[in-house]
Symmetry: D2
Subunit: 269 residues, 4 copies
C-alpha cells in the first residue's frame, strides 16, 4: 500500500494491504499456509471413517499484479471441514479453495497417520498398524491431479548375507514409500496390502510366539535387496492399469551399518 | 535359555525365553515399548471427548532374577483401549499394566496434540489452536504420581528492543512448556488459558484485521523478556494450592538471531 | 542367486550376489546410500576451507539386466575424500562415482552447515552465523547439472500489522531457501548476502544494544509480506545472467499464529 | 525498567533494561541460550583434534532480585572458543562462563557427532563410524559435575526369534545411549569400544563380503534381548571404579514391528 491509499480511508476503516496492486511484475506460483495441524477424519474404502490428525499445507497461484493472497481464508477452510475426507471430497475441497481465493490454480497437501487392524499371521490375534499417508491435489478447477502417497514399513532380509553366511542373515526395518496417480480412486487398504506383500515379511503391532516363528522364517525364505524390493513393488504397480504415474522409494535402515540403502523407481507409463 | 531347557519341551511347545531366570543379578529400572503410535480420545474437563493420535511409551521394572518382560502385553493394553482417557482413567490403565506385567512399578507416557476452539479477541471469529500435551503416570500400584505437560505457543515482545528503539520492537513465537503434578486433577483448558495470559500476547489460528491490530498493540503494550515470561507463569502456578510440583520452560525463537533464548524454573513447593 | 551357482564356486570363494543378472526387466533410476554422516571441508570463494559435517546421499542408475549395485563403493568414495569440496570438486567426485559404479548416470547430494563471520551493523562486533547448504550434482559423465541450495534465516515484519496498528508490528524469523543452477560457479557468500539484503532485516549471532536498536528500526522501516520477500529475492536472481534456473521458497514462522505463511517462485529463465 | 530510569540517562546513552531490579521475588534456576550451532574441535584421548559442528546450550542461575541475564555474553563465549575442547577444557569454559555472567552456578551442554576410524573385522578395510556425543558441565565454580553421553549404534539379534525358528532370527539396528559421570576423565574411544562389544554385533561404515559373513554369523551366535543388552553394558560399567554414576538406555528399532523395544538402567553406585 502507499500513503495515499490510507488517506482515502473512512474513519474506522482498515486498509486492505494485501489487496493492493504490485508493481514488481513477478507472479508467485504458490503462496499460502504451511504447518497447520488440525483434526480430520479419513473415509476408508468400506465407508468407515477414521479420526486422525492432519498436517495441512494449502497454497494458490498469485498473478503478477496482485500484492498478496488472503491467508485467513485458508484457515477458515481448514477449520470448517466437517465432512470426512477421501479423494473425491479432497477434489471438492480443492475447487472450493481455488474459488474462494479467486486463483487460477492451487494445491492442497494433507499428511496424517492411518491405522489398520491386522490379524497376526498364525495366531490371528488382532492389532493396529500405523501408516503415514499424504494426499495432494494440485491444479486448476477444471484440471486437478490427485496424488496418494503411503509409507509402508516392512522387514527386508539381505540375500547376500544369507548366501555367504553359514547361518543367519541380517535384516531390518525398511520404509517403502509409494506415490500413485490413478484414473479412478484406489483403495488405500488394498494398496498397502500390495506393498506389504513385497517385503521379505510384513510387520504387525502384536505377535505371539507362533507368529514370531512365522515372520522370522518367512523373511529368511524371502530375502530381498533394496533393489529387489523397489522392483517388486514397481512390477505390481505396473500390472494395475488404473495407475497412470507412480514413484516407489525404498529405504533400508541397515542393521549392520549406521546408514541406509536406498532405491527409487519412477514411472509415467 | 540353554539347550537343556529346550530338550524338556513337549513336541509343538515353544520355549518361553523371556520367562527364564537371569544370572547377571542386575535389576532393570525400566523396560518396555516406545514409539507406539495409536489412535486415542482425550476427555476434556467438560466431559467432551476429543479424538487424537497418541505416541505411547510404556515400561515396567524388572527384578534382577527375571530374564525379560512380556513386550506383547504392552501392545495388547494399548490396542484394547476403548474408553476415552483422562488423568483418572490413565491411573487405572497404569494399575492394569503393572498388574498384567506382574511388576513392582511401571510408567506410562502418552504424547498427543490437543485442539481447543478459541474466539478471536475482537471479531470473535472461532478457530482451532493446537497444543502438544504429554501425560505421564509413574510408580507402584499403591503410589503412582501423575504429571501433566503442555506446550503452549505464545508471542513474546522484547522490552529492551522496545525501550531502545524509536519505533517497533522485535517479537517472535515462544514455546512455554509447563509440567505440573497436582493433588487433584487440573482442567487442561484452564491451565492453557492461564499460561496464554502470561505471553506478550496469545496466538489464534485465524485473525481478522481488527484482531491483528489488537494482537499487535497488545504485544507492544506488554513486552516480556524470556525471564519475565518464565517468572510470570511460575507466579501464577505458585498461587494454585493444588499444584505440588511444577517445571516451567520458555524458549523464544528470537526473530533477530538464529538461536533461542531459554529459561527454566522448577519448584517442589 | 540359486543353489547351483554356489556349487560352482571354488572353496573359500564367495558369490557375488549383487552381480547376478536380473530377470524382472525393470531398470532402477536411482539406487545407493543415504543418511551417511561424514566430516568434510567446504572451500569458500576466497580459497579458505571450512571444516563441517556433511550428510551424504549417493546413487546411480541401474540397468534392467543388473541385479544390484555395489553399495560399499559409495562408502569407499565418501571415506576417501581428502580434498576440500567446492562445486568443481563435486563434479569431479560425481565423475569418479559414475565411473567406479559403472553407471550411465548418478547423483550426489551433500547437506552441511556453513558458518560465516559477520560484523554487527553498528558496533561492528563479529560473530558467526550458520546457514544450511545443500549441493547436488546429477547426470551423466558428459552432462551433469549442479544445484546449490542455501537456507538463509532473516527477520520478516508484517506490513499489514504495521499499517493497521497504532504502534508496533508483528515480526518473526523466516527461512528463505534458494536453489540455483548457474552457468559458472557462484560465490556462496555473495548469494547469501544477496538473500539477506531482501529480508525486513538480516540476522546476526551477536548484537550489542546499539545494534539491537538498528535491527528493530530497520525491520520496522522495511516491512515485507511473505509475498514481498519471495518476489524481492526472485527479482534479484532475475538480474544475475549466470543463473539459469532457480527456486525460491520463503517460510514465515508467524509470531501471531501457530503455523507458517509460505510462498514459492520457480524460474527456468 | 521504569520511566524514571530512562530520564536519568545521558543523551546517547542506552538503558540497561536487563540490569534492572526485579520485584517478583522469583529466582530463575536456569536462563541462557539454546540451539546455537557453531564449529568446534574435540580433543581425543590420543591428543588428536577432530573438527565437528556442535549444538550449544548455555545457561546460568539468576537471583530473584535481578531482572535479566546478559544473553550476548554467552554468544561471545561460544564465538571466542579457539582451543579444542575436552572434558577439562570444558570445565575451564564453565568457570569462565559462570564468572563472566556473575552467576552462582551454570550449565553448558554441547552435542556433536564424533567420527572414529574402524577396521572391518576380517578384511581390515578402514572406514569412519559416527557417534552422537553430548557433554554437560553443571554446577558452581567450586563444584561442577561433568557428564559424558554417547549414542552407540549396534546390531541386536532376538534370542526368542532364534530359539523358536527353524532358521534365521530377526535383528535390527539398536541405539545404546550411555551417560557417565566419573572421578577422572574417561577415554571416549575406550567407552565406545566397551559399549560396542556388548551388541550382538557392532557396526562398520564399510564391509567387504568376508566381513558381512562375519557380522552375520557373529550376531547369530550372540543373540541379545533389549534386557540383555542394557544389563551387559551396565555390568561392564559396574566394573570400572572410576565411574560414579551412569545411565544406560537401549532402543531396538524392531525389524518385525513398527515400534521400539526399550530399556534403562540407572546407577548412582
Amino acid at each position: 500500500m502507499n500513503i495515499h491509499d490510507s488517506q482515502l480511508l473512512m474513519p474506522g476503516q482498515m486498509i486492505d494491504v494485501q489487496g493492493s496492486a504490485d508493481l514488481r511484475q513477478i507472479a508467485i506460483e504458490r503462496v499460502g499456509v504451511k504447518g497447520v495441524r488440525a483434526p480430520m477424519r479419513w473415509r476408508l474404502g468400506d465407508g468407515t471413517e477414521q479420526p486422525s490428525v492432519g498436517l495441512f499445507a494449502m497454497d494458490v497461484a498469485l498473478p503478477a499484479d496482485r500484492k498478496g493472497t488472503h491467508m485467513s481464508r485458508f484457515m477458515a477452510l481448514i477449520g470448517e471441514q466437517a465432512a470426512a475426507l477421501d479423494m473425491s471430497q479432497l477434489i471438492a475441497l480443492h475447487r472450493e479453495m481455488v474459488t474462494l481465493l479467486d486463483a487460477r490454480r492451487g494445491r492442497i497437501e494433507i499428511a496424517f497417520p492411518l491405522f489398520l487392524r491386522k490379524a497376526a499371521p498364525v495366531s490371528g490375534i488382532e492389532s493396529l498398524m500405523d501408516y503415514q499417508v499424504t494426499v495432494v491435489v494440485d491444479g486448476t478447477i477444471d484440471h486437478a491431479v490427485a496424488d496418494l502417497t503411503v509409507l509402508v514399513p516392512v522387514t527386508s532380509l539381505c540375500p547376500c548375507s544369507k548366501t555367504i553366511s553359514d547361518y543367519g542373515a541380517h535384516n531390518q526395518r525398511s520404509h517403502v514409500t509409494v506415490t500413485v496417480r490413478s484414473s479412478e480412486p484406489l483403495s488405500l487398504e488394498a494398496l498397502i496390502a500390495t506393498i506389504e506383500a513385497q517385503g521379505s515379511c510384513e510387520l504387525w503391532g502384536l505377535l505371539k510366539r507362533v507368529d514370531e516363528k512365522y515372520v522370522t522364517e518367512r523373511a529368511y525364505d524371502n530375502p530381498k535387496f533394496v533393489e529387489d524390493l523397489v522392483r517388486d513393488v514397481a512390477a505390481r504397480l505396473n500390472e494395475d492399469k488404473r495407475i497412470q504415474r507412480y514413484v516407489v522409494e525404498v529405504e533400508n535402515f541397515e542393521s549392520i551399518h549406521n546408514h541406509s540403502a536406498w532405491a527409487r523407481i519412477e514411472s509415467d507409463a
